[in-house]
Amino acid sequence: MKWDAALIPLLVAFAQGAVFLMLPGHNDRYIFWVPVDAVYRQSAQARRLLSRFRLGILALAVAAGAAGIFALLRQSAPLIIAASIGQIVASLALYGWAKSRVVASDGGHKSPDVRRATLIPEPLLSPAAWLLFAAPVLILAAAALFLDLNWDRIPDRFPVHWGIDGKPDRYAVKSFKGVYGILLIGVSTLVLLYGAAAMIVLGSPRGTGPASAANRLLRAAALSMAGAGVFVSVLFSAIALHPLAATPGKMSSPLWIVLTAVVGGTALTIWMFRLTSDAMEETGPAPARGWKCMDLVYYNRDDPAMMVPRKIGAGFTPNFAHPIVKFAMPLLLLQMVAVIRYAAG
């Protein structure tokens, strides 16, 4: 095993730990998304609870990372997955334990009685930002064109999937599906990402100025979708073009992919936590009667919004009562099934 492969379970474990460390919340209104008053927030009891939670999460990350490396040495993929899922389950249990010990008060965000809206809004995204949305489409199109122009050079059989050790474990034959299949999965993923971006930009409440927290959250969410699109298109194009590489079949290490996904995903999640919290502070959450299942699900027939900022967590959640959301959810499930089927061969 190469040393860099050992970094992957460690990275994943610590990235998962970093996201769990965001759960206590980072403003004076909440601890573990339980509304608290400022006195309790500063109390020794609350500080002790937070310290125990953070230590526990770090210990679980170290344990999961060590278990992951052990599994990698044993070349056991199920054990690697078990270590990762075990960390999530144990961290959630720790979160539940800590949350049950918080002394709740009435200090949380409430939907405001005074609502504000601008009548002449500024554009949410600059022309340069729109270019970021065009980039993934161009990358996938360029990869398809390059494959078409070099069709004769593509070998009759080539690898399309690699194991955790970097060795190919699945092959495809030279056919339309075999050569362009991964690019088509990339296109369908882009359609979903851009659909979600459109629902966020066109279907969620805006703030009253370009610098407002609500608009910063909207911009960040839309650009995150474009960024994810760039990552997906580069990754899928690289796999699609791999049969034309000088030494097909050799994949040095999937580290760069995992590193980009883990570091990028974690940084993005933490950033979105902060922006969502700022937006809550500025405009308050969507109307209270729409929130169900411990404020995790939003269902409000009277609210014309398709997406609303999350009351708990980061980013946006769909308004499940909206007809377009009802239509989009099965499409999302179909896409996930298609990707899983493709990955599983």
Partner: protein, 131 residues
């Protein structure tokens, strides 16, 4: 030229219905010059989404404004601020204005605002709206 970007403030606890608040504020923006002829207003759905209220409420406000000639609406197009000729005041309008003003001034006096301050504010407001 536009003044500051017009922002609606709708108080859901106010005894004045939300559609009336929207209509009153849009009319004020038109008079003050924050909205000028031809300005495009947000769609009913978009404004309802931004305010977190039902779209029928916004539709009712737009209908009132269109009825009074403040905005123009046509099927499939965005509502726009209408060109509005200065109409001569109807008979009895000045009396109606004085009656409502008397009631309001009496209320403000009762809450401690001096007559002098009220007169000063009223003069400033009238000059602003006159352009």
């Amino acid at each position: 030229m536009h003044q500051a970007r017009p922002v609606l403030n709708i108080d859901l606890n106010s005894p004045v219905p939300a559609y009336r608040q929207i209509a009153d504020q849009v009319r004020r923006f038109c008079v003050e010059g924050a909205l000028t002829t031809g300005d495009r207003l947000p769609s009913v759905r978009r404004l309802a989404m931004d305010l977190g209220i039902h779209h029928n409420t916004v539709a009712e406000a737009y209908r009132l404004l269109a009825q009074d000639g403040w905005i123009e609406m046509s099927q499939g197009k965005a509502a726009r601020v209408a060109a509005r000729a200065h109409t001569p005041a109807a008979a009895g309008l000045a009396d109606s204005f004085e009656r409502r003003l008397r009631e309001f001034v009496a209320e403000m006096r009762g809450r401690g605002l001096s007559a002098r301050r009220m007169a000063k504010r009223l003069r400033i407001l009238a000059n602003e709206m006159e352009g």
